[in-house]
């Protein structure tokens, strides 16, 4: 059916077209069906929505994702994509081969799958799991799907954390530290999904983080490293789409996670990667045994796709650093690069950097590079290359001036700091959008506290959001303090 294109300004996530109901009936298309739209630039698959008035008969309304489609187009019902059959196969608990994963990844990349199908895909992978062989296939297919950066160097270093720990802003310390030893570190990071800040959100306090692939190459050429938002570089479009479907269901099956992390590193052109696997109560991996098993799988898949990977299993049952929220974490980062900072953040950054040096065969000492100011200097160079002020000082970082201090209601020992609650409170206070909002922790697990001693401070930029965060603080126990007697009772 020939239709005239009329752009309609809707930014739906999927490539949606609006059809007049008369045309849709003629075509046999129902809402959410897929159609082929043949235009001068090629053929695009789009999802159908119906309208009576917004577009007239003979007209197809194209939403923003289809902005490049112009003129007169030929519209026909699109067949069910092949990968739907493979999703069903995976639901039947039959292993998929490399070719089948290739089709699935391709169809997700090209938006040929409707959301119900994408939901079924992540559900199938979660319910039936991926074998090591399948994880290898999927990782390869995902690495091939996006753009690939290739660096003119034998060794390109990188770092990744599987997440789940509040604060934990190791990357902005480690990347300049490693770069200061002469290694190339093209680091892409994410924004917060359910946490108070992603590394990209924290870096944005210092400088820009959204750059194209070409710009990233220039930044790395100039500063030896970058810390940019991965979403803008578009190295793993397929990964972003899968994560979008996993997020509402909080599904994060290990095989898919390994494929996601390693394919992204491969696409970024990295050769040597250290992967931080935090474990413990409230982290993504609960037990040490699980963490070890996961690490073994990561290394096997990495080997298969030609990546040298070191896994660092780290303690993840409480936040790392004092600050939680973009500016508060940025303050920790700057303090650590200046040779001070929270002890746990400094130690973790140094340990992971030394592991990476060893893996890359570089004779360098992370502690020296930090204490000599070399890491701080390199951080300035990265910030400058990304359009920020290299001489930024802690006083330049403004934290939310509306505060509430939470005190211990008894004397005792801090037995738990809840990662998830800390993130949730910081988000209620406005993080990550209000960059100054978040939480400043004044204690750590194992600290002895007196009754009335401050445990943490909530910062907000807007009074109403402080109240909002406060109501969550009142109904929960982000920092758990237990008296000596209670501790004894717990020793059973």
């Amino acid at each position: 059916m020939q239709l005239d294109v009329e752009p309609v300004d809707i930014a739906s996530r999927s490539p949606t077209v609006l059809l007049n109901e008369a045309d849709a009936a003629e075509l046999g298309a129902h809402p959410l069906d897929r159609v082929h739209v043949e235009h001068a630039g090629g053929t695009t698959v789009a999802i159908v929505e119906l309208t009576d008035e917004l577009v007239a008969p003979g007209v197809i309304g194209t939403t923003r994702r289809l902005a490049s489609v112009r003129g007169t187009v030929e519209v026909s019902l699109a067949p069910t994509p092949a990968s739907v059959r493979y999703i069903r196969k995976k639901l039947d608990d039959i292993e998929l081969d490399a070719r089948e994963f290739g089709r699935v990844v391709d169809d997700i990349t090209e938006d040929r799958l409707a959301d119900v199908e994408l939901g079924a895909y992540v559900a199938a992978v979660y319910a039936n799991g991926l074998s090591l062989q399948e994880t290898m296939h999927l990782t390869e297919c995902m690495a091939d799907a996006g753009e690939v950066i290739s660096w003119d160097r034998d060794v390109v270093a990188d770092k990744h954390s599987i997440g789940g720990v509040a604060g934990n802003r190791v990357t902005p310390v480690l990347v300049p530290l490693v770069a200061a030893a002469g290694l190339t570190v093209p680091k892409t990071s994410s924004r917060a999904v359910t946490s108070a800040a992603g590394t990209a959100d924290t870096m944005e306090v210092f400088c820009d983080v959204a750059f194209s692939r070409e710009e990233v190459e220039e930044i790395v050429e100039e500063a030896g490293a970058c810390i940019v938002w991965g979403g803008a570089v578009n190295l793993s479009p397929v990964d972003d789409k899968i994560i979008r479907a996993e997020t509402p269901l909080s599904l994060d099956p290990p095989g898919q996670l390994i494929a996601s992390v390693l394919s992204k590193k491969k696409s970024a052109g990295s050769t040597h990667v250290v992967i931080d696997i935090p474990y413990g109560e409230g982290a993504k991996v609960e037990s040490l045994a699980e963490a070890r098993e996961f690490a073994v799988d990561v290394r096997r898949v990495a080997e298969h796709i030609g990546l040298t990977v070191e896994c660092a299993i780290t303690r993840g049952s409480q936040p790392i650093g004092r600050g939680v929220g973009p500016a508060l974490e940025a303050r920790d980062v700057l303090a650590t690069l200046d040779g001070a900072g929270p002890a746990d953040l400094r130690l973790k950054s140094v340990r992971l950097a030394d592991l990476l040096f060893e893996s890359c065969g570089v004779d360098a000492d992370a502690t020296d590079l930090l204490d000599s100011g070399a890491a701080r200097e390199r951080f300035g160079a990265i910030v400058a290359a990304q359009g920020g002020d290299p001489d930024v000082s802690p006083g330049d970082l403004s934290v939310g001036r509306h505060t509430r201090v939470v005190h211990a209601d008894r004397a005792g020992v801090v037995t738990h700091v809840d990662n998830r609650l800390v993130n949730d409170i910081a988000r209620r206070a406005g993080a990550p959008k209000d960059t100054g909002a978040g939480i400043d922790l004044h204690c750590r697990v194992g600290d002895a506290v007196e009754a009335g001693e401050p445990l943490f401070t909530v910062h907000a930029e807007v009074p109403a959001k402080l109240d909002d965060a406060g109501s969550l603080v009142d109904g929960s126990e982000a920092v758990r303090v237990r008296g000596a007697q209670e501790t004894l009772v717990e020793r059973v």
Copy 2:
């Protein structure tokens, strides 16, 4: 956030609202997030899409599903619905209890689930199956979810086929036949999803089929029975939504199917139901053993919710009747009610009606009621009550005048008639939208044919669609003819 409502004419399946990007950023809402819209009439959950131009800041664009929302509304981010946790639980292969199914059904009914979540639900039920206990819970919850009709009678008869067989238009023969014995039969039927015609499409050749619940009650009062489109009566809104998610993936897990069928019958106020379970190559159930197992589960769940059910396991490896497509099937129906018609359609209708009589404890004979003209008369009464001509004759039914006859390319025996291909060819020819389009079968499995003898005729209303159907005929073998020698070879 307070926003002014501005209706936007888009008929998306989910209740979608358009937010200006500035407002969405302020709210922290991403595309496909859910928001609470508090309005004068209550609170509605809606799915977010973003726009820069279509609605201004301060305005919320409401699509057609939200037409009743007017004035100024309070918009806030909606929390993740509880059922998302239960979907995840089901993915972990943990049984859900009655309360949990209640929440799932409730959230699906109220459109609180995004499509990725709905896809994960049907995937979870498919991958991990439903226990008999779970099927009972689900059936009860689904029966309670929609409207329920209650009839002032002890016995209300009904019939259902689990489908998969082309033609097979038993319902319009059986319903008047059973009603002629004095039984009440409030039959709701579906339109075609992947077949050439649903019962509702075929009945529409004779009369209207879209009626409200109140109208259905009047029709049944008048004619003792009805044959209407279930979609308009809205007895099982939740079932329609689940089927929509199952269709693209061709998922039809037995437990969900049982819950779907039985909850619908319960909502329709039926007390005694005969369920047709066709089995065989190309049917939904492949083997007799599977069909029996399915029938046992159906009866157990039916007993649990207080329905008397008889299951009829029938042969489903080839179409029933000669015609496939609305008018062609209508012609078979009329011929059968007139005492002639295809032998298989007549026999199946009589057998299922007698089973229903026995189940209801009614002393009646289906063959007599058919041959005496009582069933034909009652059919006329139903058609009249639904606004059609009770004296319709076969000559009034116009079938597509553009035809192509397909001949046997050899002498031999018909060994297979492919349900799916027959449906696909009829759909290419224009069915069900072009009511006269479809296929007229001239042979059945077991018939001896000469080379060049006609096997079937394709009917279309539009020449281009006949060509379209023809190209599928050429590339496939809807009716398989094998020579005697070949048959011997196959006996290995």
